[in-house]
Symmetry: C2
Subunit: 344 residues, 2 copies
DNA sequence: TTGTATGCGTTATCAG
DNA sequence: CTGATAACGCATACAA
């Protein structure tokens, strides 16, 4: 690896002069700068980030910790955030937890060891204490899920309202047998979304007996299995999904069981992907302001990083907690109630 | 930030003893190790990767450079590779190029500056010379696309055969008016896939006049627009997609124009996603051994990293070039030829 | 404008 | 078994 010394040796000048030339320091002759630059380019010099870091503070790395990249939602976050980071001279380090607290902890330690400038995280179900302690030492923005102990900035969506609106929508179409498949209630989002469903049921005067609720891991497999089992026992006319991957799994189940959408069942999916509209007129979705959230969190993190450079000790000054609204993308045809089978 | 010195001071021992204890060095008393570890844990010590790197060689970072995370294909690669890296103690740094040579170059410089141990890259359309020069300095594995100048390991799929097989499949169903929408011919994959289509046409004795070809950027938008325009002028009965995102765009176009699949048109999609089967029986796909490729490339890169540690100078010893086969996932109903409209 | 000296946190080497 | 010391590459305060 070619260093600043090599360039200095080549040009018979001192290393510090080279350093200054490379840094475009004002007190350096243009001639020297030019000579140094060409030499650097010739030799293929690339600055040693670690050495630079030894003197300064943190690296130009920002960690993104998410449960799953295959989720459309998080993929979009990753993309948007990568752009935001790059335009500010940072690189994004991707860490995937699979919702495992141990994996999460390990990733965070690595990031701190690499002196990441900051972290954007979608916390897993129940993070370790140690994890929270570690996170308190650097700028952190939480996304979607909200871990109680950690007093960090947070951007999320109004989960309760989102599902409530979806429930009212189905009720408004005339549905009276509703089902909900959502993520773990231990997740802040899982609890809020379920609460929205329950409020909807109450407001629509729907008997709890003619509703079905299942919560579990926010994975496609869980939703698919749950759907297939449910459709035998409880025949809903309307179904609400409480997660992007769950929607995926439900649709898998639909295509496996041959249930017609919207013929037999109206569904409200969580998250509005392009393929949502491929389901004829059946699939209403809860649109999410993903890009807005990603942008906002990126921008705020960069700001926090700036702030923490000024004050030696990082202090999470008045964490922001912003809730962005989802929006229903209605695609139901009113035909959806025509072909309802008899209640079992 | 708490350092090794802080621990030493706290315990009234020398920094070197602390270092040895932390490293579980054999010539250190168990008592000392225990004391040091608890102190480290108490103080929240995390090793400074940069400082460690100053002495040693490279970091524990591996770069993944891809055009697009939103592409199912690359998302799966990212996930699989992240697992492979983690289990070997590496962290994955995600870099998204959007197929821009400048962005690509910048990312690679950053990675080298951070002394990434190695890089897995899906090169962009026409990488800069400088980019190739930089890449020659460290272990690199190429995925899917193959940049001529760079003598690095490469894993890809047999693009020519894949599209050829798809073409023969449609021809075998009785189709004689075929269309192909693919990626730029400047891409190694774009050229190979188009060649496969052309060979298929020849072998099926299909007149070039009753076929349609369009190549362009491998984005959904391009495919959608091309599809919508094509469907007015040239009415194919069979269409083959030459890229994952292109399939996406084509299906967007289908749903916009109201073309029935497979009623009016048989389609072979590139890449087999779960949503592929949501198209009734219409959508045959070219299944890709994504996970195999990702696994293989990860494992090989780790091996190359090992090798490069032993020899001071990194020499790309006999680069591997492996071609993995795709497989057709047939879902066509034979009904697809029943409703053909008249030729325009 | 340029050169010299110093220190960042770790670890390997050598001395105790 | 433990302590002192040097070195990694870079940036900067200070001297020239």
């Amino acid at each position: 690896m070619v260093t600043i010394k090599d360039i200095a040796l080549q040009l018979n000048i001192s290393p510090s002069t080279v350093a200054r030339a490379l840094a475009d320091h004002p007190h350096t002759s243009d001639a020297t700068k030019a000579r140094v630059r060409t030499a650097a380019s010739d030799l293929g010099y690339v600055v040693h980030a670690a050495a630079r870091m030894m003197r300064g503070q943190s690296s130009k790395l920002i960690g993104l910790i998410i449960p799953d990249v295959q989720n459309d939602f998080y993929a979009t976050v990753a993309k948007t955030l990568a752009e935001t980071c790059n335009s500010a001279g940072f690189q994004l380090v991707l860490a995937i937890t699979e919702d495992e607290p141990a994996t999460e902890n390990k990733h965070i330690r690595e990031l701190i060891s690499a002196r990441a400038a900051g972290i954007v995280i979608v916390p897993c179900r129940s993070p370790w204490r140690d994890t929270i302690k570690l996170l308190k030492g650097l700028p952190v923005v939480q996304l979607i899920r909200n871990t109680p102990g950690l007093g960090a900035d947070w951007f999320g969506i109004d989960d309760e309202s989102a599902i409530h609106e979806a429930t009212m929508h189905l009720s408004g179409l005339g549905h009276t047998r509703l089902a909900y498949i959502g993520g773990h209630q231990e997740l802040s989002t899982g609890a809020a979304r379920l609460a929205g469903f329950n409020r909807g049921l109450r407001e629509a005067d729907i008997d709890l007996g003619s509703s079905f609720v299942a919560t579990g891991p926010p994975r496609a497999a869980f939703a698919k299995q749950t759907f297939v089992e449910m459709i035998k026992k409880f025949k809903p006319t309307g179904l609400i999904s409480g997660g992007s991957r769950l929607t995926y799994g439900i649709l898998e189940g639909v295509s496996q069981t041959g249930v017609r959408v919207p013929g037999d069942l109206s569904i409200v999916g969580f998250g509005d992907s392009p393929w949502s509209r491929w389901w004829g007129n059946g699939l209403t979705t809860i649109g999410l302001p993903i890009q807005d959230i990603a942008h906002a969190s990126g921008a705020l993190l960069l700001r926090r990083i700036e702030q923490s450079k000024n004050s030696n000790e990082y202090q999470p000054v008045r964490p922001s907690r912003a809730v962005l609204s989802s929006f229903l993308v209605k695609r139901d045809s009113t035909a959806s109630l025509v072909n309802l089978g008899p209640d079992p």
